[in-house]
Symmetry: C2
Subunit: 197 residues, 2 copies
Amino acid sequence: MKYDPNVKQSRGIERTQRAFATAMFDSLAEKPFDKITVNALCEKADYPRATFYNYFDDKFDLLNFCWFKLGQDTHLDVTNTQENKLTIKETFAQIYKLFEDYQSLLLSIIENNPLDSSLVNHFVRHFTDVIYASIKNSVDTKAIHTPSELVAQHCSTTIIEILKWIYLGQHKVTLEEAETYLTELLSGPIHLQKDKQ
Amino acid sequence: MKYDPNVKQSRGIERTQRAFATAMFDSLAEKPFDKITVNALCEKADYPRATFYNYFDDKFDLLNFCWFKLGQDTHLDVTNTQENKLTIKETFAQIYKLFEDYQSLLLSIIENNPLDSSLVNHFVRHFTDVIYASIKNSVDTKAIHTPSELVAQHCSTTIIEILKWIYLGQHKVTLEEAETYLTELLSGPIHLQKDKQ
DNA sequence: TCCATACTTGGACAGTTGTAAAAATACAAA
DNA sequence: TTTGTATTTTTACAACTGTCCAAGTATGGA
C-alpha cells in the first residue's frame, strides 16, 4: 500500500482515491476483474494514469483500499485492544452485518467473478485477516493441544466460509441460523469416522 | 486449462509440458511468482513463446498443471467414487504425505512467496478443491443443521489450514499430532463465548 | 516413398504495464 | 503578491502479454 488509509488524507487526495475506488466497484459489476485494466479505471475515474500510480501500486493495491473503505463505511469496528475485547460471536455478527449491508454490491461482483477467482480470493483474504486480528486474543486453548494461532486462524476462515456460503453462494439465512452453523462447525460434533459401505 | 492433464498425451507433448513445469518450479525457488514472466519461463525451458501459449493459457494455467503433476507424481489417489469412499482421516493422511514428500520444494517456494501471496493462495485453493472432491460424499450431517456442502467445504479448508500451518508455516509435527489438531478443530470443543475481563 | 494432416515455430501486432523525468499547477507562508 | 514547496499531469519509454498467421517440421497411413 502506497498510502496508509488509516491516516486522514487531505480532501483532494481523499476524493481522488474515492474516484478510483468507485471506478473499481463499478467495473467489478460489469466485467471480470482480470479484464479490468488500469487504463480503463483511469478512463472511468477521469484521472490520468500517472495519478493512479501516484496512489496505488497496481490494481490489487486499489482493491485493498476498496475493501478497507467497505469496512470503514459500515463502521466496522473489529479492533481488538486490551480494553476492547470482542468475542468470536460478536465479531461474527459484525462481519455478518457488513456483508448484509453490501449484499447487492457483492451480488453484482459475483455475477462477473466466479467464487474461485483471484478477485473473490483477494476479498476473502482481506476479511479473514480483519477477523483474525479481531479474535486472535479471544481464543481459549487451555483444554486442547492445537496451537492458539492455528485455532484463531481456523475460527477466522470458518466465519468467512459461512458468510461466503450465505452471501456469495446465495443461500440466504437469518443471523440466528448463521450463528447455529458457526456453533456447529466450531464446537462440533463433526464425525471424522464414517462407516465404509 | 488448454490440455486436459487427465488424458494421456503423446511423449513429445508430455516432455514439453514437463519442461515448462520444471521451469516454473525452478523459478518459484528463485523469485516471487509475480516477477516470473512467460518470457523467462520460455527462456528457461528453451522453447519459443508460441509453444507456451500452445499448451497453457497463461502463467496461472501452467501453475494448475504444476499442482496437478505434484499430485500425480506422489500417487495421490483421492478420487471418491461410489466403490472407493475415503474418510476424512484417510484423505488427510494422503495429503499430509504429499506435503511431506515435497517439503523441500514447498520450503523453497515459501522463501520467495509470502503466505498471503497470490501464489500460495492458488496452491492452497487447488488442494482444497482436491480434498473437497474427495470427501464431499463422506460428511455426515444427519445430526446437525448446517448444509452438508458447507460442512464439506469446512472440512477441506480445515485440513489445508493445518497442513499450511505445519509445512508452510514451518511448525513441523508428526502425523499423529496433526491428526489430533484435526480432531480438535473439527469435533470441537472450541469455546465461542469468552468471559470479558 | 509419398502425402495429408497435425503440431511447432518465428515474427509481427496492438494493447497493457510500471517507471521516470520534466512541465504544469496548486497551495501556503511571508 | 511573490516565492518556495509539494503535488499532479504530461509525455515518453522499455518490457511484457496474448493473439494471429504463415512458414516450417513431424508423424503416421496408404
